[in-house]
C-alpha cells in the first residue's frame, strides 16, 4: 500500500472502473477480476493499491461522498426569494446527481436498507447536508413574514424532494417505460414540475 493521496494513473482507472461496476451490478456481483479487466490492469495490481475488495469499495464510496459535497458546494447560490431558492436548490440537487450518476447510484444503493451505523454515516456524509439545505430554506419561507404555510412539516417536504431525486436517478429506466412520462431524460423539466406542485399543490385556488 503506497501513500493514500497522489494516485497512480492505473490506480485512478481502478477506482473509476470499480465505482462504475459497483454502482451498476452491486458489490456482491462484481469480482476483482471484472474490475481488473475493465481497468486494464492485473488483478494483483489492485491489491497493490488497495488492501482488499472491501477497502476498494469503501474508497469509491468516500470519493462519491466528496464529489457530491463538492458539486453541491459549487452550485450554491443565494437568492432572496424562498421559492426561487427552493427551485434552484432542487435543480442543483438533480443536476449534481445527474452529473455523477455512478456516484449517486453508489450512495443510493448504500442507503438501500443499510443498517443503523451505515445509515448514520451516510446521513452525516451526504444525505444530511442535503436534507438540512432543504429544511433551512423551507423554515426560512415559513418565518413570521415568509410566504409559506406554517402547518407543513419541513422535514416531509425535504424528504419528498430527496425521494423525488433518488427515484429519478435510480429508476430512470422504469421512468422511461411509464406511460405518459416525457420528462425521464430532462432533469430540469422534472425539477420544475416537482417544485411547481410542491409550491401550490394540485388543487384549484378558491
Amino acid at each position: 500500500m503506497p501513500q493514500a493521496a497522489g494516485r497512480t494513473e492505473a490506480a485512478e482507472r481502478i477506482l473509476e472502473a470499480a465505482k462504475h461496476l459497483f454502482a451498476r451490478e452491486g458489490y456482491g456481483s462484481v469480482s476483482i477480476r471484472d474490475i481488473a479487466e475493465a481497468a486494464g490492469v492485473s488483478k494483483a495490481n489492485i491489491f497493490h493499491h488497495f488492501a482488499s475488495k472491501e477497502e476498494l469499495y469503501l474508497e469509491t464510496l468516500r470519493r462519491s461522498c466528496e464529489a457530491a459535497r463538492a458539486l453541491l458546494e459549487a452550485f450554491r447560490e443565494e437568492h432572496p426569494c424562498p421559492a426561487h431558492q427552493l427551485r434552484s436548490f432542487f435543480r442543483d440537487d438533480l443536476r449534481q446527481a445527474s452529473d455523477d450518476t455512478d456516484g449517486s447510484l453508489l450512495l443510493i444503493a448504500e442507503g438501500f436498507n443499510a443498517g443503523p451505523q451505515r445509515a448514520r454515516a451516510l446521513v452525516e456524509e451526504v444525505f444530511g447536508a442535503d436534507f438540512r439545505r432543504f429544511t433551512q430554506v423551507l423554515a426560512a419561507g415559513q418565518s413570521s413574514e415568509g410566504p409559506w404555510r406554517t402547518d407543513i412539516d419541513p422535514a416531509v417536504v425535504a424528504t419528498l424532494m430527496i425521494a423525488a431525486n433518488t427515484f429519478f436517478i435510480s429508476h430512470r429506466e422504469v421512468l422511461r417505460q411509464l406511460p405518459g412520462v416525457d420528462f425521464a431524460d430532462d432533469p430540469e423539466r422534472y425539477a420544475d414540475h416537482v417544485v411547481d406542485i410542491l409550491l401550490d399543490g394540485i388543487r384549484k385556488e378558491a
Copy 2:
C-alpha cells in the same frame, strides 16, 4: 423439478428464505448455502426444487409481483371525492408495501437501474398498474368540473407518489437518522402529510 404449483413445505421455506436474503443482501451477495441454511434444508434440495439460483430468484420476483397486485386489488375502495380517493390510494400503496417489505424491496431493487427489458417487464407487472391508478384518479380530478388544476401533469404527481413510497420503504434507516423526521415508523402519518402537500402546496393561499 416437480410440478410448478403445489409446493412442498420445504420448497416454501426455501422461497421465503431466498426472498428475505435476496431483498436484504442482494442477489450477488447471497449464496445457495446461505439460503439452504436459513431454510433448514440441504443445498441439494434447493436444486431439486429449482433449476438454478437465477430461476429461484426469478420465482421470488414473480411471487412478489403477484403479492403486490393481490394486496392492492384487495385494498381497492371507491370514494366519490377525488381528494379522498387520492389519499386512500396512497395510504393503500404504502400499507401494501409495508405489509410485504421484503417483496417490495425485491421489486425496488429489481427496478434499480434495470435494463430496458427488465424495466419494461417490471412496469407491466407492477409499477404500471400503480402508476395508472394514480394518474386515473388525478385525471378524474382534473375533468371539466373537477376540483384540480389542469396545468399540472398527472404523470409527475404519480411519479412523485411512487417515489415517496419507494424511498420510504427502501431508505427507512436513513429516514430514521435524518434530523426532525418523526414519521419514519408511521406510514399513515407520512402518507397524510405527503397528500396534504400535494393537494394544497406549501404556499399560503392569497
